[in-house]
């Protein structure tokens, strides 16, 4: 059995009066590519933030590689939602990616040419080499997302958390990002992704975490991602688009 990279026990969190998360328990094995799926307001982003100490937890404990967060911070990478920063900030794509190296560069020291080179290679990997000098305000949504992923990539972490990296990006960016995630998995890294598109879950993730304020089910996608479990997560409000679309397509064949 693979090493447990993330152990969450009895985690709960709230915003003011509302409890957003309660009794969250799961264990993630190394090398998993996990999709976190649930309806709006299910606490998906809050779960990531609480795990990463960006939002206070009410109860529970989180262990990474068997250790507390501050001991292993450098092995953890986080890709926030694209809308969480001000893209009007005066800087270019290469500079943002270089920020991923700040931990390795050391505080108060300046990035060297070698660091810039590393950052450029990460941009290249995401097909963004031509945009290295581009102002971040002049990048499209998909390009901004790629810049964020390149920044996470240079961190060279073992465990990644990504908050909706596929939200509002075009098909080409989605392919580029998924190729990257599968490469990371192939390297033995663990990636947890907040995801909202139910139709692609089975193609993209080997594990799935169904969340609605608490863990409804967690496990291998093939076993867990069933119609019944999804209904339980979404409260039965879901329309079965996949089947409907099959009905439409069948006559053409």
């Amino acid at each position: 059995m693979a090493e447990a990279v993330l152990q969450v026990e009895n985690l709960s969190a709230s915003y003011r009066k509302n409890t957003v998360l309660f009794d969250v328990n799961f264990v993630v094995q190394a090398g998993s590519l996990v999709g976190i799926v649930g309806p709006n307001g299910a606490g998906k982003s809050t779960l990531l933030k609480t795990i990463l100490n960006l939002h206070p937890s009410l109860t529970g404990s989180v262990k990474f590689f068997g250790l507390p967060f501050n001991k292993v911070q450098k092995r953890i990478g986080y890709v926030p939602q694209r809308g969480s920063v001000d893209w009007d900030f005066p800087t270019n794509a290469l500079d943002v990616v270089t920020m991923g190296l700040y931990g390795q560069i050391g505080w108060l020291k300046r990035p060297s040419r070698l660091h810039k080179q590393k950052a450029f290679e990460a941009l290249e990997k995401l097909g963004m080499a031509d945009y290295a000098d581009r102002q971040i305000s002049q990048l499209s949504g998909g390009q901004q997302q790629r810049v964020f992923l390149a920044r996470a990539l240079v961190q060279n972490a073992d465990l990644y958390f990504m908050d909706e990296p596929l939200a509002g990006v075009d098909a080409a960016t989605e392919r580029a990002i998924m190729t990257l995630l599968k490469e990371l998995k192939a390297l033995g890294k663990t990636v947890m992704v907040v995801h909202h598109d139910l139709q692609t879950v089975e193609d993209y993730f080997d594990h799935v975490l169904l969340l609605n304020r608490t863990v409804i089910q967690y496990g291998k996608t093939k076993q867990i991602f069933t119609r019944e479990n999804i209904s339980r997560t979404y409260g039965g409000d879901l329309r079965w688009l996949r089947e409907e679309s099959l009905h439409v397509h069948n006559p053409i064949k």
Partner: protein, 306 residues
């Protein structure tokens, strides 16, 4: 008119307001990207009661003690704003507006009391409202210089840290940068910048020197580093030039002239700035229109040939 420049005291005062302008321009860029421009105004006003209370306790004017009084009072104002925002349903801008006016009102009330007491009206405390650089003595200048240089140094040494702290604080935290420390340091140097400028520029207008140079600099560059440098230059120029003009007349307040010079630089930037300045935008639009016209007429001509 330029003979006043030969006076060594004037030279020192000019030099110190210039360095202060540079510090304010630098700090202003941080406040701009922290989206806290108004916060600096609230803190400046909140500093006034501290200045007067420090004078009352000491019985004489000593800039260093008054700076400490101003800092304490500004920090109390800041924590009030923080407390109102986090534990009531009042929003941040309302909280700032309340703290700004309440503290300023308290300061003016105390000032009136001081001015009524014997000898109080010669204290020169009035100069803390609109600023009077000429009233500064050599020791005041030294205090101001040292603290202003310290602020500039802190920003430049930790430049990369400030950048990531302002652009993406959550990511910075993930890298191990302590947001608690950065917030503390930010508030400390913001308050320092404000209180050292109070005597020269005055509590009412000091925020302008933090806000205007950084906004002006935004029109000239797309790099954070250059934005800070340009903002520092604008702040320094406004500080020195404004002080010089105010020194031409007897008893002219310094603050308003500094702000007028800073505003002139702002309007220059707004019209002629190369990044989205009004003139550049207009010319670019005109050129685009011409290009489109050329393309369409070309397309029409080729169609005609067919």
């Amino acid at each position: 008119m330029f003979t006043i420049l030969l006076n060594s005291n004037t030279q020192w005062v000019l030099f110190s307001t210039m360095i202060f302008g540079i510090a304010a321009g630098t700090m202003g860029c941080l406040a701009y990207w922290k989206r806290q421009s108004l916060m600096s105004d609230a803190l400046a006003h909140a500093a006034l009661p501290g200045v007067v209370i420090a004078f009352l306790l000491l019985g004489e004017k000593n800039l260093f003690v008054m700076i400490i009084g101003a800092s304490i009072s500004a920090l109390i104002g800041a924590s009030f704003i923080q407390w109102i925002r986090s534990s009531t349903r009042i929003s941040a801008d309302t909280a700032m507006g309340m703290v700004l006016s309440i503290f300023f009102g308290l300061g003016i009330m105390l000032l009136t009391v001081v001015n009524r007491t014997s000898g109080g009206n010669q204290s020169g405390l009035d100069s803390f409202i609109f600023g009077q650089a000429a009233s500064m003595v050599r020791s005041d200048v030294t205090t101001m210089l040292i603290l202003a240089l310290a602020v500039i140094l802190i920003v430049f040494i930790a430049f990369k840290e400030w950048k990531i702290y302002l652009f993406d604080p959550e990511f910075a935290k993930g890298l191990g940068l302590s947001l608690k420390w950065m917030n503390g340091l930010y508030t400390t140097i913001l308050v320092t910048t404000i209180v050292i400028g109070i005597q020269a520029v005055g509590v009412i207008l000091i925020a302008a020197l933090l806000i205007i140079p950084s906004v002006s600099a935004r029109y000239w560059t797309q790099s954070f580093q250059r934005m800070i440098i340009i903002s520092a230059l604008f702040g320094g120029a406004a500080g020195a030039l404004g002080t010089f003009i105010s020194a031409l007349g007897r008893g002219w307040p310094t603050g308003p002239f500094i702000v007028i010079v800073a505003s002139a630089l702002f309007f220059l930037s707004l019209f002629f700035g190369k990044e989205k300045g009004i003139l550049v935008k207009y010319l670019q639009l005109k050129m685009q229109k011409r290009l489109v016209n050329i393309h369409t007429s070309k397309a029409l001509r080729t169609k005609g040939v067919e």
